[in-house]
Amino acid sequence: MKLNVNPVIRGMIAANAIGLLLVAISKWIIDYTERNRLPDVGGIFVFSDFIIVPVLMGVTCAFFWRNSQLTGKQYTWNAVICGLYGILLSAIVLREGVICLIIVSPLIFGFIIGGVSIGRYLFKKKNNTLNVSFVSILFLFLVSDSLSVHTYDNMVADVVTIKASPEQVWKYVDAYEPIKEKPSFWLFRVGMPYPVQSTVDGHYKGAGRKCVFSNGYVFDEVMSVYDQNKELTFDITHQPRDPEIMGHIDILKGQFILKDNGDGTTTLTGNSWYRLYIAPVWYYDIWASSITRNVHLRVMEHIKYLAEHEQ
């Protein structure tokens, strides 16, 4: 029995099947290197999962749509629908959360549409040697990229001026009461966890500190520098393994530096060091630094309010 499925639908099904297969191959390679104690590639998802795979999905769609006489608009709409199915499958099969999918969706849509544009003209030329070479090169790139190291460390800093002395500000730096104010950052408002409180075991170097997030997640920290009224540095000793974001980024260290401005105000600098396990870095670091900065600002604005309010 021959199924008479519309070529547009066939293209979408084939593209998503190939996408899933390629992601499975990429993940198997990464798991294999870990199991066999080969050099740690560090990645959970790599550059090619978000670029090569969507491009190949787009090219696959274009192959099935090559005789369908579609207009440019129809090609693009169908590519978007194919991307939506891909994102839905990522949620079901890879168990990615809403925030992760929001972050990744511009890449998926962009590269699927880009892949469709490539394939649209590639298959019109009827040059099978070129077509096979193009797809083979992309596949080889996927394999080699999965075997490459993908960790990336970065630090972000934010500065707030507080109308209070360093002594007054210091009282709220290591521990503070719950932040009741609703978050203003849009990702926090759509469900991403944000900091609400910090507690400490004691006010000395080596004491434990806990940073509590809105969904109950707790970051365990140890204060490695406790220079009263000047600097607090803490190392993260344990962090939640949230599949949403936290599997893709590790926060390594945090720091608050207080500077007396000599005019009754204090400059509070917040620094955070993090490591990304996801690529392409040029894309994900924009999100990572933005999220980290908004975590900083939420805490630092709260410290500012407490210190100034006390006056």
């Binding site: 670029i51 090569i52 969507p54 491009v55 787009g58 207009t71 440019g72 608009k73 693009t76 709409w77 590519a79 978007v80 511009p106 890449l107 849509f109 962009g110 590269f111 699927i112 549409i113 880009g114 892949g115 469709v116 544009s117 490539i118 649209r120 003209y121 590639l122 019109k124 030329k125 790139f141």
Partner: protein, 164 residues
């Protein structure tokens, strides 16, 4: 907005075009933005594509920096980006004439070349875009007349769409 974004990216992040496939993904995002914010632009681009692809010897490829590229005799005539920016390569003297007559603008990236840009924004721009491609076609097929001002009739032209 899409065109402004395009200008910012090409001006401040030109190195991205050298990273394999990045330009294609960026083109895909542009097409998505066009689809969501200015879907009628697709009608104009499809109309241009239908017309030009019917000319003898024309074949289309994906432009290396993203977009649909029109070629003849293994030479590029020009290409259209997903945001509706049309780029065509002429000689420098023809380019100067086209710019002085406000038919086309300086290329959005390559100022010191024969490239010109034209922004497709409304249905009337399709006529101008087709004329530009027609001249490019004549140039690449050695049918270019010696004197551009005689060749370009003012009544053939519509006022340029200013970049907004």
């Amino acid at each position: 907005m899409n065109n402004k974004f395009f200008k910012i990216v090409t001006r401040y992040f030109p190195f991205f075009k050298h990273v394999p496939l990045i330009a294609k993904g960026y083109e895909g995002m542009q097409l998505l933005m066009t689809l969501l914010m200015k879907p009628q632009l697709f009608e104009y681009m499809d109309k241009i594509e239908r017309e030009i692809s019917s000319w003898p010897g024309i074949y289309m490829t994906s432009h290396k920096y993203g977009g649909m590229q029109f070629n003849i005799n293994k030479k590029e005539i020009g290409h259209i980006h997903g945001s509706g920016i049309l780029d065509i390569l002429f000689s420098r003297s023809i380019k100067q004439t086209l710019i002085s007559r406000e038919i086309a603008l300086e290329h959005h990236s390559f100022k010191n070349s024969g490239w010109v840009s034209f922004y497709i924004q409304k249905s009337e721009d399709v006529t101008t875009a087709l004329k530009l491609f027609e001249w490019g076609y004549y140039l690449k097929t050695n049918q270019w007349p010696l004197n551009l001002p005689e060749f370009i009739k003012e009544e053939d032209m519509l006022p340029i769409t200013k970049f907004t």
